[in-house]
Symmetry: none
Subunit: 191 residues, 4 copies
DNA sequence: GATGAATGAGTTTTCATTCAT
DNA sequence: GATGAATGAAAACTCATTCAT
């Protein structure tokens, strides 16, 4: 696990995050992973497959976090939305490198890898959509613009990596709470 | 405008938008512009300078649109925020290529170009910050989270290019209105 | 030799003849031509195109020699067959490098280049077929195996490069005469 | 025969026939043979040795077929020549892969393997030379060009793999007869 | 007896850029 | 004002081969 495959994936993720997919070089990835280029090619058939493996792993990782958060949140839509926003904020803060690659390098995937990527992305979006729909149906939310609200919430959460300073004064927990509050405002949560 | 320069910039912008800065090739840019590579290098010193010129032109272009919108909006903060959101939504929809490059290729700038870029970016952010601050001071807005609200609004507006379909059913005007409404919700606009 | 295109083609032909297409390296071709690899790629899009250009040039060159020989040979089929065998023998002897590449590297062509190559090869074969058919029709030839005779003749002529020693005692003219004699024997030429 | 060795040789032969020696990769050979690369290297010291073993085995195989054919042919040179042509035609038709490698990859041998290869090739040529010489001595053959005739015959037989279609209408037996007839024509066989 | 893992030199090709004219 | 020709470095990837186990 660790020595070959995982070390290479980790190095590739960092390199893709810093340079972008096109700007990253396989040579630098191998060097960063502490293996020869040939060893890298022994474990992965090519640069594109590295990206595919990373996006698969990280999106799945994030989706799992969301599933868990919703499952632990109880029945009220407001609590589920709080949980979802919290999980997303936390993921962006705790995994900035993973988040950066997932959110900006999807377009660099080979065409045959796109479908799986977009399915996983849609799963994430659908979870928000479902919670908001259920909140509306239950009378917990009152917004007339559920789609726009969802887009605001997701865009805001995904944008965190662009400005958040892990060494700064804002804690993750507080940030999650604040973002959840605004999310509930957007969906017009009652009481 | 000028025959050589502008055609090259336009081609470069499209190429950067489609491939990313690192993934774009000077050869392809020249070909797309219909000029020889030598001609391109006659007008611009290099690839980085193309990016610099594009980001300068487009961010300035966007900032001017915002300035004009605010200036035309009258004195109430709510109207100014509506105008600002409207200008941003419109820019993202009407200039998807410009928007895409400005929003995703800033990190590829040479270090000596970064300062100007970030100053212009900050100008855009500050305009939202100022309007929200003035709205709070005037009692028009009531939010306890002005910074978070600003981030939600900007992130949502900037994200439009990721999903908006110009051939789809949603018109720009309607979209601008809807986004402005949510923006006002976020800042807790009164009555 | 000559700058640019021709020098590169000449070097590539020699290299392909000596090492085979797969065994030849673009680096060695460029070195042999006295140009940098980048210069080579300026003139030709890739290794395969070098092979394509060579086979086209050389097969056409040979076909032209055959056309001229037949045209100059007068009306009797026997004379035309003599001319055709003479032209082929001469080509194999005078252009051993061209002959070697044309006869052994056709299978290394890209699929889109194969058709043109095979058309030119067929043209060469058809010229022999036509002459033999006409000789039979005119009563000059009597063989019951015109197809086999044609294959014997062509195979023998094409094989010359495998054993002929240009520094040896056999002159081209004598060889051409001897091969023509056997060719006429094979088709059962009368008197 | 032996489990590892023979499967590897068979795979290598096919690969060499399809791609040429230089174009074939040890990886593909191992994969085709269904063994690991390490296993391949356990049985054979390297790629060159595979080629050496193949050429040795196949040329010897062919030579043995010729020896047997001549031995079974009786004393008349014409019958022996018929037998020799028949054996060669049959070998080219029945073993197209072996034939292809033997006839086109000899030049890729390591220098220390060349001698043995050329000795075996010469043995094949000498058998034809001897039969023709004996036919002339016995008055069975009358050609004035025994060397050229031999070259025609061998070249024609060796060329069969280039055009013969095993799924086509021509049977091996018929083809052998026809080629033998032309061979006898070339040597000027009497009666 | 056999392999999974790795290597370093090599491959073809593309890159941004320069220069003589 | 502009170009055709060229460059050296680097790109992604493959090669035949080796070695510790």
């Amino acid at each position: 696990m660790r020595p070959g495959r995982q070390g290479i994936i980790d190095a590739a993720r960092r390199e893709f995050a810093e340079q972008g997919y096109a700007g990253a070089s396989v040579r630098d990835i191998a060097h960063r992973a502490g293996v020869s280029m040939s060893a890298l090619y022994y474990w992965y058939p090519g640069k594109q497959d590295l990206l595919g493996a990373i996006l698969e792993e990280d999106l799945e990782h994030y989706n799992q976090a969301c599933r868990d958060a919703v499952a632990a949140a109880g029945d009220r839509a407001a609590d589920q939305l709080r949980a979802l926003v919290g999980a997303t904020v936390r993921y962006r803060v705790d995994h900035p490198v993973r988040s950066s690659v997932v959110l900006s390098e999807g377009r660099s995937l080979r065409s045959d890898q796109q479908a799986a990527y977009e399915r996983r992305l849609a799963e994430a979006g659908d979870r928000f959509r479902d919670v908001i729909r259920r909140g509306l149906a239950a009378g917990e939310f009152t917004t007339a613009q559920p789609d726009d609200a969802r887009r605001f919430i997701l865009a805001a959460c995904n944008d965190i990596g662009q400005w958040y300073d892990p060494a700064g004064a804002i804690g993750v927990g507080a940030l999650a709470d604040r973002y959840a509050t605004l999310a509930l405002t957007l969906v017009g949560a009652v009481a």
